[in-house]
């Protein structure tokens, strides 16, 4: 096997990993702070894609307006997430986990149909923005500019989050919220605002992921329930609620898919699940998570 081929395979896995990271990090953040496994995260991702398509139609396809559309879609989803948290989810915090789980599942059902009613059942397509249409030759491997952009975007977002979480007062509050809810309110922070804020940030990431994936995939109903499983696996592998764990989980997921097809040509999807199983058995809290009961 040529090294350039292995490098190409690695880059392919990296692109997939960074897409997954965008989505899974939102899921992980919400879980870390609110302790809610948000099934509707996949629906936010799908709606992000549809909204991006819609905005692209308005600003004109195949223009740099794509960026505006993607950002607009992500913000729209953030607002939607904020509304959902404020108006509904908040009232379920005191209840058993089951109610929160089923509530987010109810959202999956409703939002899936909302998308169908609004955009129909066919598949929609968005083109790459002209500035990133081309490809470049990197060590003998053709890398589309757009993929390169995604590969760079993932770590950038991770670093921004790391900085905010570790170095700012907002970050301290969020970390406190993840550790101990009571302590947070005794610190004088507005817990409700923190929760809403985190839910909005998580939703923003889902929406952004959905919007940015549109140039590489078709937008179809059903992409919501498919992606949530992948994001879930990433989060479980990396560690529940662990930010860098999610990053690592996404990297592993992407590479297993990429190289898995070379080793088990028809079983790479199974390889990811098997990896998850092994990790669950050895370290049920994930690679970088803390042992929590």
């Amino acid at each position: 096997m040529e090294p350039s081929f292995l490098f190409g395979q690695f880059l392919g896995g990296l692109t997939a990993a960074m897409f997954l990271f965008l989505i899974a990090s939102g899921l992980s953040l919400i879980f870390g702070v609110l302790r809610v496994l948000n099934f509707a995260h996949g629906s936010f991702y799908m709606l992000g894609a549809y909204l991006a398509f819609q905005f692209v139609q308005w600003v004109g396809p195949r223009t740099e307006g794509f960026w505006l559309a993607a950002l607009g879609a992500a913000c729209g989803i953030a607002v939607l997430g904020g509304l959902v948290e404020r108006l509904l989810l908040r009232h379920l915090y005191g209840r058993e986990e089951l109610y929160q789980l089923l509530f987010t599942y109810a959202l999956v059902l409703i939002l899936g149909d909302v998308a169908k009613i609004t955009w129909g059942t066919g598949q929609l397509s968005v083109s790459r923005p002209p500035s990133l249409e081309g490809s470049l030759n990197l060590l003998g491997v053709i890398v589309p500019h757009y993929n390169l952009f995604i590969i760079l975007l993932g770590p950038t977002i991770a670093l921004i989050f790391w900085f905010v979480l570790q170095r700012t007062s907002v970050g301290r509050i969020v970390r406190a919220a993840a550790q101990d809810r009571e302590m947070l309110s005794s610190l004088g922070a507005n817990v409700g605002m923190v929760y809403t804020g985190m839910f909005m940030v998580g939703s923003f990431l889902a929406g952004l992921g959905g919007a940015l994936v549109t140039p590489t995939q078709s937008i179809v109903p059903g992409m919501d329930v498919a992606i949530i499983v992948e994001a879930f696996i990433v989060v479980v592998i990396g560690g529940l609620g662990s930010f860098w764990g999610t990053f690592l989980g996404a990297l592993i997921f992407g590479q297993v898919l990429s190289f898995g097809i070379l080793i088990f040509p028809r079983f790479s999807i199974f390889a990811v699940s098997a990896l998850m199983a092994v990790i669950l058995i050895v370290r049920p809290w994930g690679l970088l998570g803390r042992p929590l009961r």
């Binding site: 395979q9 598949q123 397509s125």
Partner: protein, 398 residues
Amino acid sequence: MLHRRMLLAVAGIAALIAPWEAAAQKTIKVGYPMILSGPGALFGEPALKGAQMYVDEINAAGGVLGRKFELIPRDTKGNADEAVRVSRELILKDNVDFLVGTLTSAEGPAVSTIAKENKIVFIAPIPKTDQLTAKANLHPYVFRSASNTTIEGRTAAEIVAKWGLKKIATISPDYAYGQDVTKAFVEHLKKIKPDTEIVDQQWPKLGEADYTPFINAQMAKKPDAVFSSLWGGHFLTFAKQAKPLGYFDAVKYNFIGAGEAASIESARTMGADYPVGIWGNSYDVNNWPGGPPAHKTYIDKLRTYTKQENPSSWPVTGYVAMQFLAEAIKKAGSTDSDKVAKALTGLSIDTPIGKQTLREKDHQANRGQFWGKTVNDPKLGHATMQEVLYIDPAPFMD
């Protein structure tokens, strides 16, 4: 308290459902399970439209045996479980007389089981897997007006053999259709061109969202040409990812896409993202220079019906299937499934794409497909077939 509730509930649905059953006797009800959402809807929607157009036509002419057709579509969501479910509901709840429909090769055989059990004629207008009408699965009530994987794979092999290339690769979805059509292609190609070397075979799962690893792995094997059977939305996602990776350039566009990669639906949705220059097939074309006059009449009617200058290519699948059903009912003089099944066996009719016969041997139509190399059509604003090649399937059927 509980059993009283249950009784009430049972009585409740009884009261609600009963009136429909009484009113059902006038029309000939045809259940139409079809993918109406998800990646398959790209083809499922127009396939339904074609059936509806035929029904409207024949109803305007007074129907069959003095009775009008009623088409009852249901969304199968592209999965076999749902297809089985809606088909049984169509039979048991809506009391349909016949089933026409299903799209994927997972749905077709699953629904065929239901048709056999309920002794109801089932015409499959689209699923191509050979398994549907293979000896082990054939029963008196299942018919296929679609092409099948043997025909599709072998005709593709005929085309590729003429390219004179040696190192061939395949990429296909890992389920019945993809496996069967790829097998037919590879076996036939090796037979007619023994120096063929299959250098790589990729099997992404049906509905794969990220084809990049498969694309890279395939390029690394440096094939001269590629056969693909990714269809519908799957081909779209694949091509969108493969094009910027230089995949089509690497094989010099010696790429042949079965699964209707050159259909107007795929070309239109992808617009400028389409890998223009590849070969592909389609169930229908809007301009068939060597075709029968009936085809031109049909396309004109379709243009009016859909109010589109360039209508989709899939309506013909539903249209022909419904045509077979109506002709068989006429011939049988009855809507009894046993009689209609007998009438369908060996039935020949004139369709927009020429004379079609459901062979007695395996209830399979002699349905070919259109193949062609794609070029950009500035008038349409998307890719289209440069020259239309209709290969008569007769020599390639077992």
